[in-house]
């Protein structure tokens, strides 16, 4: 647990180092070419670029702990006085992203386990090979390729779903689910393959061990051997790969959100990067990194819990 917090601390330093390395003409890039030296200086003072990096880092972290992610640069320079706080921009979008990623995970994890067990049970059969080829193809394809193929077939040729996953606050739960059907399906395709392959490999790896041989000799059915004897020992690698893939979901979600113009945090970050709106980029990156680290930590904890030998170290 302490390690996770330490990592998070280091990560926050790295992300905030970002601001230090800013090229000098940054204020100009935001304010436009016609900016006078006075406006540039005023802008730099306003967003705090004229103070020392260490001070800025601690201000940033301090604000972060109070839930204040700072203020978007894109609005800081505007004269209208309309300011947008980063936290305000992130929060509703983070909920949207969690909704999408959560839906994908809820479908993908059981499906991957089921397919993996089935492939291990009927290994080297036609079913196994077909699942293998399909999963290899979906691992190798870029996410946007899968997404557009799905749009092509499920939204344009056969208009079952909608291609734009736009979500408005007043929508009912079912409408929301319907709107995110295609992005969810894309994410499921992307992450199921690897989890399924790992489940299969972990189970097959165990099938050669003597205790499996024993249960086979005593007459247990193949399905029973896998579910009752092999699976409990295969949990550690499987859970690890599940956590890794959920962490991967965090990244995959960026591209999928852009394809379907889904108002999530990934799209916010891509927009901010192209506008070079650093506080927003920092905030988003920190949220992503935090999720990623937490999931990895969770994987370690589950691995320890699932293995009695690690739970009670000698």
């Amino acid at each position: 647990m302490g390690l996770g917090i330490a990592t998070l601390f280091v990560v926050s330093i790295i992300i905030s180092l970002a601001i230090q390395m800013l090229p000098g003409d940054f204020a100009k890039a935001i304010l436009g070419q016609s900016a006078t030296p006075e406006t540039v200086a005023a802008f730099q003072h306003e967003v705090g670029l004229d103070r020392s990096p260490v001070v800025r880092y601690f201000e940033w972290v301090g604000g972060m702990l109070r839930g204040d992610f700072g203020e978007s640069y894109a609005s800081a320079g505007s004269l209208a006085g309309h300011r947008r706080m980063v936290a305000e921009m992130i929060e509703p979008r983070l909920l949207n992203t969690l909704f999408l990623a959560g839906a994908a995970a809820l479908i993908a994890v059981p499906l991957a386990l089921f397919l993996g067990v089935m492939a291990a049970l009927y290994r080297n059969s036609f079913f196994d090979r077909a699942v293998n080829v399909v999963s290899l193809t979906s691992i190798s394809s870029p996410e946007f390729f899968l997404a557009y193929i799905l749009i092509m077939f499920l939204a344009v040729k056969f208009p079952i779903f909608v291609s734009l996953a736009s979500i408005t606050p007043g929508m009912s739960f079912l409408d929301r689910l319907y709107a995110i059907a295609l992005p969810t399906l894309t994410l499921v395709l992307v992450i199921v393959a690897q989890m399924m392959r790992m489940t299969r490999a972990a189970i097959i790896n165990l099938l050669a061990s003597p205790y499996i041989e024993m249960s086979r000799l005593k007459g247990a059915k193949p399905l029973q051997i896998i579910v009752r004897h092999a699976l409990p020992n295969a949990w550690a690698p499987i859970v690890n790969v599940i956590a890794l893939n959920l962490a991967y979901l965090v990244v995959g979600v960026v591209i999928v959100e852009v394809v379907f113009t889904y108002p999530g945090i990934g799209q916010l970050m891509v927009d901010a990067v192209s506008k070079r709106d650093l506080p927003v980029v920092q905030g988003c990156a920190l949220v992503f990194a935090m999720t990623y680290i937490l999931l990895n930590l969770l994987a370690d904890i589950v691995t320890i819990i699932s293995n009695p030998r690690l739970l009670h170290p000698r």
Partner: protein
């Protein structure tokens, strides 16, 4: 002990004389291996060869230049433009062909760079151990604790997206994975007697790296090169697709998908072509790596 220490120098003296004979043996062995290769590996090799040829001879194969405006926007397939034109009226086929050169070339350069950095540092860490290993490994741990695409996005937003920046950023981020692999396989080799002998002979770090360790860890590194290439290729096309990677007017498959995506809603498959080209190369590479891994592990048994 004296015997052991003397044997390696003898081998090195003999090696150059034997080299021509051994090389021919290698070529025949390679051919024999290829003939026994499964259909999927053949498919992969042929696809990769086609991509390489397209990339090298792009200017000869393409009917138009990659930036030239030759017609109206979004012209349909057939006629003068085999695959139609893109959103500005550039020839789609020519851009696909040049895209092979740009996308694959840039991904290849990035992977090379990341391998040179990653394996050199990985081997150095494995050989020297002590604090060098600690410092390098811990910094890699930190770099790896941030998801790669997110990290790349942050760095791109700071440094701005040019092709040089893109190559450097992805290469550095990706070399962490190469570092981990080369360090862990090299650690198994470092403890061997012949490495000890080379050390006692007083060989320097680069010599031990190149002559003693590298030949022994080549197989996993080559396989990893294939996989990392796929990964780098996908990352760069993802960034280009987001509009933050390779910038227009350079033809690149990722950004071509983005620019022509509007056509999808009219049921036109054109935008899928560059995306399909990316997927096909990655699948082909995976097939070849699978076969290679199977072969090298099979030989060991």
């Amino acid at each position: 002990m004296t015997d052991n220490a003397q044997t390696p120098p003898e081998n090195i003296l003999v090696a150059p004389v034997e080299a021509p004979i051994r090389r021919r043996g290698k070529a025949t062995r390679l051919w024999r291996n290829l003939r026994k290769a499964p259909a999927s590996a053949w498919f992969g090799l042929i696809v990769i060869a086609i991509y390489v040829i397209t990339a090298v001879f792009a200017p000869l194969l393409a009917p138009h230049s990659e930036t030239e405006l030759v017609g109206g926007a979004f012209e349909p397939w057939g006629g003068q433009f085999i695959l139609g034109t893109d959103q500005l009226g550039r020839d789609m086929l020519s851009r696909m062909i040049y895209g092979a050169r740009n996308s694959v070339g840039i991904a290849f350069m990035t992977t090379m760079l990341s391998f040179v950095m990653g394996s050199a540092l990985g081997l150095a860490a494995a050989i020297s151990g002590r604090w060098i290993d600690q410092v390098l490994s811990r910094s890699v741990d930190v770099l790896m604790s941030i998801p790669q695409l997110i990290f790349a996005l942050v760095l791109l937003s700071i440094l701005g997206s040019s092709i040089t920046n893109l190559i450097l950023i992805i290469a550095v981020l990706d070399s962490t994975r190469v570092f981990r692999l080369s360090r862990s396989v090299a650690q198994g080799v470092v403890v061997m007697d012949y490495v000890e002998a080379a050390r006692l002979r007083g060989e320097k770090l680069p010599w031990i790296m190149r002559r003693e360790i590298l030949p022994n860890i080549m197989a996993p590194l080559v396989a990893e090169f294939g996989l990392r290439f796929c990964f780098v290729f996908l990352t760069i096309s993802a960034l280009s697709f987001l509009g933050l990677g390779i910038q227009p007017p350079t033809a690149d498959w990722g950004s071509m998908v983005r620019d022509n995506a509007a056509l999808i809603t009219y049921g036109d498959v054109t935008p899928l072509l560059p995306a399909g080209a990316i997927a096909l190369l990655t699948v082909a590479m995976n097939f070849v790596v699978d076969w290679f891994l199977h072969k090298t592990s099979g030989l060991r048994e």
